[in-house]
């Protein structure tokens, strides 16, 4: 049976753990050669994605996205970092901040596959809905 992308990624993760320097380089080269031999070089991008997911999971890193209407200052960012860490029970957060004037105000926080929509636009929408009802 053909191994799945996930299985390749998992294998790479298991191999590279606790490896450093030249040793690590060799493993990665071997892995690339293996992919070529198995005709799986096309799935390289997907395998890298999977690898990142596994890495994040194993090291308790959470990817987060903060969308705000205006650029946030460092103090707020720091506070949010801590907050997300607590929410996600993670050791580390990789925050990707975005500015979207379209949400008018407030914040939208996404981490893992969860979302907290505290944006002003969605509030207005629910206000509209409740008045319509």
């Amino acid at each position: 049976m053909k191994a799945s992308d996930k299985q390749y990624a998992r294998a790479l993760f298991d191999l590279t753990q606790n490896q450093k320097g030249a040793e690590l380089n060799k493993t990665i080269k071997d892995f690339a050669r293996l992919l070529l031999k198995h005709n799986r070089a096309v799935s390289l991008n997907r395998i890298i994605d999977r690898f990142q997911n596994i890495w994040n999971q194993e090291n308790s890193v959470v990817k987060a996205e903060i969308i705000s209407a205006h650029k946030l200052n460092d103090k707020t960012k720091e506070f949010l970092d801590e907050h997300i860490k607590k929410l996600a029970q993670a050791k580390e957060v990789a925050v990707d901040s975005k500015v979207d004037p379209g949400i008018l105000g407030g914040l939208i926080i996404k981490y893992g596959d969860r979302i907290i929509d505290a944006g002003f636009k969605s509030k207005l929408r629910s206000l509209k809905q409740s008045i319509q009802n």
Binding site: K110, R114, I115, I116, S126
Partner: protein, 512 residues
């Protein structure tokens, strides 16, 4: 506008806004990976539950869906609505709710789609009660045996294949043979029988549904009926949830201790729509390409029909599922499944139909596993003989085709049988009240119709009923009310039959 009115409006708005609570709730979300044919594959949503409702946020508004597949890192969902609105990478929110439909008295007399949206152009539903469409069927301790009758008003059915409240009786036959007609007649006959009805149209032509609704309206049956429509042009997902939604609406009345009749028209199309969904979700196909759980699809639906005992309200859901066969093939996959689930079947045959026996019920192979427990005593008394005579006639009729010399007794039995089968013929939309049926069967089984020519039986039957309505109303009412056929009633019946014959002697053959 006066300033007073303006103040009032502002005040109202203020109040509404004040009451509004914003929730910054944490929700599970995912992204659409793939969408098409009414099916969406969604990434993320790691906490999604089976059959949970999903909200697809699209540019043109929200579309809802239901989780049907939970994969390792994606979720397969059916889309209830326009899937062309959904684009790849649209956000999907989990709602933590099982799909629900509005229920309540409000729905009576309405035509709705499986999500409870009105289709008849009248005002919106006000109902604030909702029931989940999928529910585990009532357990053993809550149930009781079926014993009250459902009067279908169809002579052949009420006498030979009695249906009880809480029973599941399959109506099976080829296309265009009168399956729906039996169900609709039954609904029409429920006027004044303390019965609510739900008619679920699954994959029917809209024109056919419109005809049915018009007919129900015309006969006053919409006063106690809900029509749930998932038409032929609706996506398979709508067809799939339609019978469950209809049952949920029925369950509301069940919980009020009422009796409900649900017609699923038809479950073959339901199975086909589920097959479509399953194949698109890449579930492995089995026999006739149906998925492995197609039996469970129907068993969990029909198991929700029940008769509850007094402690649990005493309500009931009777169901009349309909199955369309291909060229009379009852041994196909879906027909055998549903036959084994239900408590009996009414089998309609093309040969009978074209011979003019309508309804084309084959009383020989149609059965009701509840039996005479679901008949009133009076009917039981007359129908017992009828069953025997019908069976004997069928046997003899096969023989009589060869022979010419038949003895007197056999000839008599054949003649009786012919008249009996003539009685079984009945027009559409013309249900017969149970007490009238008792009178007719009493007359035929006791030989009072033997001297009426076979081709005149229909006229005689009509005349007898008219005569009895005028001259023996009290007796008929008594039979209806008590459900018994006492000796006195029998003699009243004899009198009525004789009286009718005296007037109608031109109908009756002279025996010189």
């Amino acid at each position: 506008m006066s300033s007073h009115a303006k103040d009032f409006i502002v005040e109202q708005l203020k109040k509404q806004i004040q009451d509004l609570e914003f929730d910054n709730q944490e929700r599970s979300f995912g992204k659409v990976i793939e969408v098409g044919d009414g099916i969406a594959k969604v990434s993320g949503l790691s906490e999604a539950m089976m059959s949970e409702m999903l909200e697809f946020k699209t540019e043109r508004g929200s579309v809802y869906g239901v989780v049907l597949n939970l994969n390792e890192d994606s979720v397969g969902a059916i889309v209830l609505g326009d899937s062309s609105w959904i684009k790849e990478a649209d956000e999907v929110m989990a709602t933590k709710r099982i799909l629900e439909v509005p229920v309540g008295e409000d729905l009576i007399g309405r035509v709705v789609n499986p999500l409870g949206a009105v289709l008849d152009g009248k005002e919106e539903l006000k109902s604030d009660k909702h029931y989940p469409i999928e529910k585990i069927a009532p357990g053993v301790i809550t149930r009781e045996s079926v014993k009250q009758p459902v009067q279908t008003g169809i002579k052949a059915v009420d006498a030979m294949i009695p249906i009880g409240r809480g029973q599941r009786e399959l109506i099976i036959g080829d296309r265009q043979i009168g399956k729906t007609a039996i169900a609709i007649d039954t609904i029409i006959n429920q006027a004044g029988q303390k019965m609510k009805c739900v008619y679920v149209a699954i994959g029917q032509k809209e024109s056919k549904v419109a005809n049915i609704v018009a007919k129900l309206e015309q006969s006053g049956a919409m006063k106690y009926t809900i029509v749930v429509v998932a038409g032929a042009s609706d996506p398979a997902s709508m067809l799939y949830i339609a019978p469950y939604a209809g049952t949920a609406m029925a369950e509301y009345f069940l919980d009020q201790g009422e009796d409900v009749l649900v017609v699923y028209d038809d479950l073959s199309k339901h199975a086909v729509s589920y097959r479509e969904i399953s194949l698109l979700l890449k579930r492995p196909p089995g026999r006739e390409a149906y998925p492995g759980d197609v039996f469970y699809l129907h068993s969990r639906l029909l198991e929700r029909s029940c008769k509850l005992n007094k402690d649990f309200g005493g309500g009931s859901i009777t169901s009349l599922p309909i199955i369309e066969t291909q060229a009379g093939d009852v041994a196909a996959y879906i027909p055998t499944n549903v036959i084994s689930i239900t408590d009996g079947q009414i089998y309609l045959e093309p040969d009978l139909f074209y011979q003019g026996n309508r309804p084309a019920v084959n009383v020989g192979i149609s059965v009701s596993r509840v039996g005479s427990a679901a008949q009133i005593k009076a009917m039981k008394k007359v129908a017992g003989k009828i069953k025997l005579e019908a069976a004997q006639y069928r046997e003899l009729a096969a023989f009589a085709q060869f022979g010419s010399d038949l003895d007197e007794a056999t000839k008599k039995q054949l003649e009786r049988g012919k008249r009996l089968f003539e009685i079984f013929k009945q027009d559409q939309y013309a249900p017969v009240a149970v007490e009238d049926q008792v009178l007719i069967y009493y007359a035929v089984s006791n030989g009072y119709m033997d001297d009426v020519p076979v081709e005149r039986i229909k006229d005689f039957e009509l005349a007898l009923l008219n005569y009895a309505h005028d001259n023996a109303r009290a007796t008929l009412d008594r039979v209806k009310k008590s459900g018994q056929l006492e000796e006195k009633d029998e003699s009243d019946f004899q009198q009525a039959i004789q009286g009718c014959k005296d007037i109608l002697d031109y109908l009756i053959k002279k025996n010189d």
